[in-house]
């Protein structure tokens, strides 16, 4: 089975039997979906090496999220005196490391993890109605 098929199958059903973890991990990294896969499989019992890789991927995603939200907050503070609505296009999702291969699928998925936390969504971080990001 190709890496892409493995990845799609694993994202659709995170309990699916995986024979070739190396191929799955490689495909997930190529599509920048390793974080999504790690979260999807969080409740599952995994081989120790995979569990460690996925824990690191989740920590990495959390750190990227913190950084992206911090940048958005800095932009909000800098623009606040202007009194104009501020729109974050696709959230702050477009902050992937430049050396990894970006893909349309990854961009589409990554909008989901950049949603602001509840305490922040009530603030004028974004001009769109709350919850629509």
């Amino acid at each position: 089975m190709s890496g892409a098929r493995l990845l799609v199958a694993a994202l659709r059903d995170p309990t699916v039997a995986v024979r070739d973890w190396t191929a799955l991990i490689s495909a997930a990294r190529a599509e920048q979906l390793i974080g999504s896969l790690a979260f999807r499989m969080e409740a599952r019992t995994l081989p120790p090496r995979v569990a460690a890789l996925f824990a690191a991927a989740r920590a990495d995603a959390a750190q990227a999220r913190t950084q992206a939200l911090w940048e958005a907050e800095m932009a909000r503070r800098a623009l606040a005196p202007l009194g104009v609505p501020v729109i974050l296009l696709k959230g702050t999702a477009f902050t992937p490391p430049i050396w990894t291969r970006a893909s349309a699928a990854a961009s589409a998925i990554s909008t989901s993890w950049c949603r602001a936390p509840a305490w922040r969504r009530s603030k004028p971080l974004c001009s769109a109605p709350a919850g629509s990001m």
């Binding site: 973890w21 190396t22 191929a23 991990i25 490689s26 990294r29 190529a30 081989p47 120790p48 090496r49 995979v50 460690a52 890789l53 824990a55 690191a56 991927a57 920590a59 990495d60 959390a62 750190q63 990227a64 913190t66 490391p97 050396w99 990894t100 291969r101």
Partner: protein, 288 residues
């Protein structure tokens, strides 16, 4: 991929795929005695592919690809395929390693105490680590040191040692010929020859060690030893780390604990004998 090879190096497993057989044959010979991953799973995949499809056969050129890629990296000639595999593994670690704090440093261990040697390219860390590895120390790695952020232990990553130019002759006088890879002439970094760490380093590749001393060696200067303050050590080690920033607070906590609990010295040395002498002195002081 047409050809494939898996290697376990310290805590990290690699799968190296190649469109050609020759680079993997060279790799298998150099890494003779290394285990394959016991669970059959690899942390990283490296792929050696033709830059363009026809480049597999016509004037073959090897593009270094894998889980993590540098988009504008120049391909290497097939004659340097072994170097491509090595660079591919380095690249995965530099861009993709998120489990351990990764320091661009050599490390050696004796009596349970690990030394971290770091510095710019040309400072001599590879050569010193290789020499110490033949003289009673355990070589843990010549390129990357892995710090376990949970317990502060340094983990071995005993890849083949990458000897460049003058260092090749120094080590040819020390180690048995069968431990060397082919001499790669005219690479982007000059001449390169790889050296397999000795049997002790391989047998203990799963065994971490407590850091005891951080050294900043500098080759080509009159002998001098200077204590380095915590702030400078911190700055230098953040520069030597490939993943310090992305690890966030865990990386900061691990690095500051490493610095707070270990002395750091900058040593200048005119020749390797002087450096080895200084390091042996430090070891005796640490043991006292």
């Amino acid at each position: 991929m047409r050809h494939s090879l898996s290697l376990q190096i310290g805590p990290v497993a690699f799968r190296i795929g190649s469109a050609w057989r020759a680079p993997l044959d060279a790799l298998a010979a150099l890494y003779a005695g290394y285990p394959t991953p016991a669970d059959g799973i690899c942390d990283f995949t490296v792929r050696l592919e033709p830059d363009k499809p026809w480049r597999r056969l016509i004037r073959p050129s090897v593009a270094i690809r894998g889980d993590y890629v540098l988009p504008d990296a120049a391909p290497l000639s097939l004659a340097h395929g072994l170097l491509a595999a090595e660079m591919g593994m380095n690249l995965q670690m530099a861009l993709g390693q998120k489990t351990y704090l990764l320091l661009h440093a050599a490390s050696v261990e004796k009596d349970g105490r690990a030394l971290i040697l770091t510095g710019e390219s040309g400072a001599g860390k590879s050569t010193l680590a290789a020499l110490l590895g033949e003289r009673g120390w355990r070589l843990m790695g010549d390129e990357f040191a892995l710090l376990d952020m949970d317990n502060g232990l340094l983990l071995p990553f005993p890849r083949a040692i990458s000897l460049k130019n003058g260092a090749i002759g120094v080590m040819e006088a020390e180690a048995a010929p069968e431990r060397f890879g082919p001499r790669l002439i005219g690479t982007p970094k000059g001449d390169i020859r790889h050296l397999r760490p000795n049997a002790d380093a391989l047998a203990r590749m799963g065994e971490g060690a407590k850091p005891a001393l951080i050294l900043f060696p500098r080759f080509g200067e009159a002998p001098a030893v200077r204590s380095v303050g915590a702030a400078e050590v911190f700055m230098r080690l953040t520069q030597a780390s490939t993943n310090y920033v992305t690890l966030g607070r865990r990386g900061f906590d691990a690095l500051t604990r490493l610095i707070a609990t270990n002395p750091a010295l900058a040593i200048d040395y005119p020749d390797t004998a002087t450096a080895i002498g200084l390091i042996e002195d430090f070891r005796q002081e640490l043991a006292a």
